[in-house]
Symmetry: C2
Subunit: 239 residues, 2 copies
């Protein structure tokens, strides 16, 4: 069903055809995780919630795949933090930007940024560098679901805390991000919102979660879990 929906969104011009290929790459990793949030996914999601609560200028950055996969939870996350919501796409055309922004608005987004970019992400070429000053440019903590490696690197270089949601724990985005969440996007968004609710106002817990989190250690555990899952999946098939 998700696949047919994405294919339809390609026809409508909201998703670039190559977005289907990256979705497929994600599916493979989700499959390896048994299509559930593993313990290291939850650890990263809790750290993400802590950073977002601590942020002065948090931003939820939305690309084409993310927008059409789960607009409602992206909007709900931005409202719950609260954070600015900005559309930022790799294959940028004005027409596609307008389609995506209208789509998010039809799903309930208010004050969505991206229509009138007035800044650039440093170190990125082409139109994909375009962003707004009030949103991405001035953000201190930014969550980038399904991001490309270049942009994740550029945002980290700008000194931002970058929270990625990327099913591949070895992708360039995951290697680069400050908090690398390897989980399916909808599950990740819902888990983060649960942690936001749990920790809101509890400054001591927020500080503890941030200081106890090691992204590198957590990614290593994630990869070990994927291997265990692979082997047990194989053994199930033998019966």
């Amino acid at each position: 069903m998700v696949r047919e929906h994405l294919a339809e969104m390609v026809e409508k011009g909201l998703v670039n055809p190559t977005g289907l290929i990256s979705h497929g790459r994600g599916e493979a990793f989700d499959y390896l995780m048994g299509e559930r949030s593993l313990e290291p996914s939850l650890v990263a999601e809790k750290a993400a919630a802590a950073y977002l609560l601590r942020a002065k200028h948090p931003v939820v950055c939305v690309n084409g795949n993310a927008a059409v996969l789960d607009p409602k939870n992206l909007i709900a996350l931005a409202e719950n933090i609260p954070a600015k919501l900005e559309i930022n796409i790799f294959h940028r055309t004005e027409e596609r930007m307008e389609l995506l922004i209208s789509y998010m608005e039809s799903e309930g987004a208010k004050n969505i940024l991206g229509r009138n970019p007035d800044s650039r992400i440093a170190g990125l070429n082409h139109d994909r560098a375009l962003c707004t000053k009030e949103g991405i440019y001035d953000s201190d903590v930014i969550i980038v679901p399904i991001e490309d490696g270049d942009r994740a690197e550029a945002l980290v270089s700008m000194g931002k805390i970058v929270i990625s949601i990327d099913l591949n724990p070895l992708s360039r985005t995951s290697k680069t991000a400050s908090v690398s969440i390897s989980d399916e996007m909808t599950r990740a968004l819902e888990n983060i919102m649960r942690f936001l609710k749990e920790m809101k106002g509890n400054e001591k817990e927020i500080s503890d979660v941030i200081s106890n989190f090691s992204n590198n250690d957590n990614r290593k555990i994630m990869i070990e879990r994927i291997c265990n899952s692979l082997m047990s999946e194989f053994e199930k098939g033998e019966n």
Copy 2:
């Protein structure tokens, strides 16, 4: 480049949009393999070559993704065995069949089957069951690059030796096939052709290769190799 080519082939109607998603899933596994033929891939490719040389009615079965990814090597494989070449697609329309057959012919294919199906693959619903008697239906050994699990199961149930090329060693196709090659398609086709050349006429070696091959053991080794590759990829990133 491959991605842009596939996206273009979607626009031309040769590839179904969901074919891009399955390509992406394959890419993820290729990435885990370090984008090279691992030793268990080669073991399966040699077994495939042995079965194809031993076959009475070998068939190379081609779907949309396979056709546009590497038509030349598919044609070369069919000529080298020699085997019949048949187009068989999941999302079948007469228009798409004609586009794919014409595409393969423009790439040099002769006597390609699939235009006028006169048989059905037992146990499959819908038009994707359609095949030719002289090709798929009467085959004893059939190589199916990038196949869906249903069709692989149906072909095995018909008593055929099914050789799959599927990057995911845990897919239903890989679990079902008689010889499961987990490798990128072009590498797999080229390796099989090398083994065909090496073994042609050597009946003793062909028999030995077939009797020494255990698909289940080989898949297990493949999964262990993927895990090793994941861990070493992670450790490289730590430096």
